[in-house]
């Protein structure tokens, strides 16, 4: 029996716009067990970053509002937590890293001082001891000559080293959960591979859980245990990584997978496309939000929203899920 670390249930988050409140998350539910890696996958506008920001209630500072749902972490209800307790949790039991470390790091403070400060926010250490811990953390994320690099300012580090420094800061207080929002999107392929394998290694070594937020299913095939697919603010499919890749049930998941499997095509031939565009959240179609782009949609899909079946390791919100592969055969 696995222990649930984080549980997000029926989360709804909205933002104020000129034309009224706009629902960004329209029912997001998933859970992460201790030590587990979950990839939250979706395109721009799917609500994946807002999900991360809602978990830590960072949306409130950005003008967002959590309208309904529950977020529990280690048995605590995050949505009713006091501001002080919430601050202790952010950067404490839950660490977070972002796509662009340069915008998250203070440009006029030395890397070592920033990490030491993060340590001292959560732990009663002397300046000297906190600096020592910062150097130790830089060494943990495999930055060469960590004692020297701690004295550098962010602009003196390469993009990959800055992302490592961000990770070091997020690990300052041994988090049980690390939320990584597009941690490798701005990086080159080789640096991307290095950062992903570093995250997997740290997860195994420190026993922490990982919530990887990404637009690219291909990137997470090697590190995720489970995949949660978001479309237009809703979870459309979730399940173990091997099952999702072998036999996606939701046509949207299938489309995302086709898009990253260029190597299965003859070079120069037309790529399988998901036609059309992600619908604007203020003009969602009736019924299934994916129906206008879906080859399997019928009248029912255009009038009623398919519910997510309750429970189970494998779920898809679709009236016409793709068939599972026959035993010993291939997916249809």
């Amino acid at each position: 029996m696995t222990m649930t670390l984080l549980e997000v249930s029926s989360l709804r988050t909205s933002f104020a716009t000129r034309s009224g409140r706009l629902g960004i998350l329209r029912d997001v539910s998933f859970a992460i067990a201790r030590g587990e890696t979950v990839a939250l996958v979706g395109e721009s506008g799917s609500g994946k970053s807002v999900t991360a920001a809602s978990i830590l209630r960072l949306v409130e500072a950005a003008g967002g509002r959590i309208d309904a749902g529950r977020v529990s972490f280690e048995g605590e209800d995050l949505l009713s937590l006091s501001p002080a307790r919430l601050r202790a949790l952010r950067g404490g039991r839950i660490g977070m890293i972002f796509q662009e470390p340069l915008s998250a790091l203070n440009p006029v403070q030395r890397i070592g001082d920033q990490i030491a400060e993060a340590v001292r926010l959560h732990r009663p250490l002397s300046r000297r001891a906190a600096w020592g811990r910062a150097v130790e953390l830089l060494s943990l994320v495999q930055i060469p000559a960590p004692g020297l690099r701690a004295r550098d300012y962010p602009h003196q580090l390469s993009g990959g080293q800055r992302q490592r420094a961000m990770i070091a800061m997020a690990l300052a207080c041994d988090p049980a959960l690390l939320i990584a929002d597009e941690p490798t999107t701005a990086l080159d392929v080789i640096t991307q591979a290095q950062i992903l394998s570093l995250l997997a290694e740290l997860r195994d070594r420190l026993g922490m859980a990982l919530l990887l937020i990404t637009h690219d299913l291909g990137v997470v095939a090697g590190v995720a245990d489970r995949i949660v697919v978001l479309y237009a603010g809703q979870v459309v499919e979730q399940g173990p990584v091997a099952e999702i890749f072998a036999a996606p049930a939701h046509p949207y998941t299938r489309g995302l997978l086709d898009a990253v499997r260029l190597d299965t095509l003859t070079p120069g031939t037309a790529l399988p496309e998901i036609p059309g565009l992600v619908p604007p959240l203020d003009a969602l179609p009736a019924g299934c939000a994916f129906a206008p782009r879906c080859g399997r949609a019928d009248a029912r899909c255009r009038s009623a929203a398919p519910p997510m079946p309750p429970g189970g390791a494998r779920q898809a919100a679709c009236f016409h899920p793709l068939p599972a592969p026959l035993p010993g055969g291939h997916a249809a």
Partner: protein, 316 residues
């Protein structure tokens, strides 16, 4: 063999910065035949975008030559240069920063036609309608402004603008890198279709090897301002000979959980060195799993090892 459409001969472009001299493009030779797509891959800072800017003559080379249809661009007169620029067009990564936010799509597409004095108002209107249709946009998009369009629609506008003057060659600099995966497939299909319909040649610059493999006929791999390997697509993937090319391939994500987990660790360490002070000898040697003493002192030259396949390595 036909004459190349674009030929870059031993081009050198350095930039002086407060921190020192950046050797962005250091003795690079490449050519593109009519109708051919050359893929150019490498990490950020390898010089691939500078090479595109050299080809467009947005920056001049310090030495070497750039020839378009046999004419040296450096010594071309204004009329030749204008014709040359019309026949070679660029598609950028971020269409929002490449499109003027205060101009309607109609104005944006009309601009190159006005600059190059193509047709009267009625002819320009007809051409713009045709361009929008070619890139799969509805006619009413002409009245919109860039911020009113989605990322994919904006990139279609960027492509329509590049096509306005009927170029022979498109320089695509990370043209699909900023797009969502589902939109990326649509835009790639558009580029593939236009290439076939219009017989366009292309320099397709990308950090994404999977995309390059799908669109390119031939591929050049750049590292720290130099081409380290060049080969026909299939030859490169069947037998990559430079350790850096192999590392790039090994780092490219594979969309298969079992295969991704069975992969050996990346066969190289460290990051791209400072382009201001590149390593002596082979520039790749500090990260190379195969490096031997010779690699630290002697820079390998790019040499042919098979038909159309060249590599700059002492131990290919």
């Amino acid at each position: 063999m036909t004459a190349p459409l674009l030929e870059i001969r031993r081009a050198v472009r350095h930039f002086d910065t407060p921190a020192g001299r950046v050797r962005a493009v250091d003795d690079v030779s490449l050519s593109i035949q009519p109708g051919e797509t050359l893929g150019l891959v490498g990490e950020s800072g390898c010089g691939k975008s500078t090479l595109a800017r050299l080809a467009m003559k947005l920056v001049p080379p310090q030495s070497g030559a750039i020839l378009f249809e046999g004419d040296d661009v450096a010594t071309a007169n204004r009329a030749t240069l204008a014709r040359y620029r019309a026949r070679m067009q660029m598609v950028f990564q971020d269409p929002l920063s490449a499109l003027n936010p205060r101009e309607s799509i109609f104005r944006i597409l009309e601009q190159p036609l006005l600059v190059h004095r193509r047709g009267d108002r009625a002819a320009r209107q007809a051409r713009i309608a045709q361009l929008l249709q070619q890139v799969g946009l509805r006619p009413e998009v002409a009245l919109r402004y860039p911020h009113e369009l989605s990322g994919g629609q904006r990139q279609r506008v960027g492509i329509a603008r590049a096509l306005a003057l009927e170029p022979r060659l498109l320089l695509c600099d990370e043209a699909v890198s900023a797009l969502d995966v589902s939109v990326r497939a649509q835009v790639l299909n558009l580029l593939l279709r236009l290439r076939a319909e219009l017989g366009l040649a292309a320099l397709f610059i990308s950090h994404d090897l999977a995309v390059v493999r799908h669109v390119a006929d031939r591929v050049a791999v750049m590292y720290l301002g130099q081409v380290v390997e060049e080969a026909p697509r299939d030859a490169l993937w069947q037998q990559p000979r430079h350790p850096y090319t192999r590392a790039l391939m090994a780092a490219t994500p594979v969309a298969d959980p079992a295969e991704a987990r069975a992969r050996p660790p990346l066969p190289l360490q460290g990051e791209l060195p400072d382009p201001i002070d590149p390593p002596a000898g082979c520039r790749f040697h500090p990260r190379c799993p195969m490096a031997e003493p010779r690699c630290r002192v002697e820079a390998p030259v790019l040499r042919a090892i098979a038909a159309g396949h060249a590599v700059a390595c002492h131990r290919p």
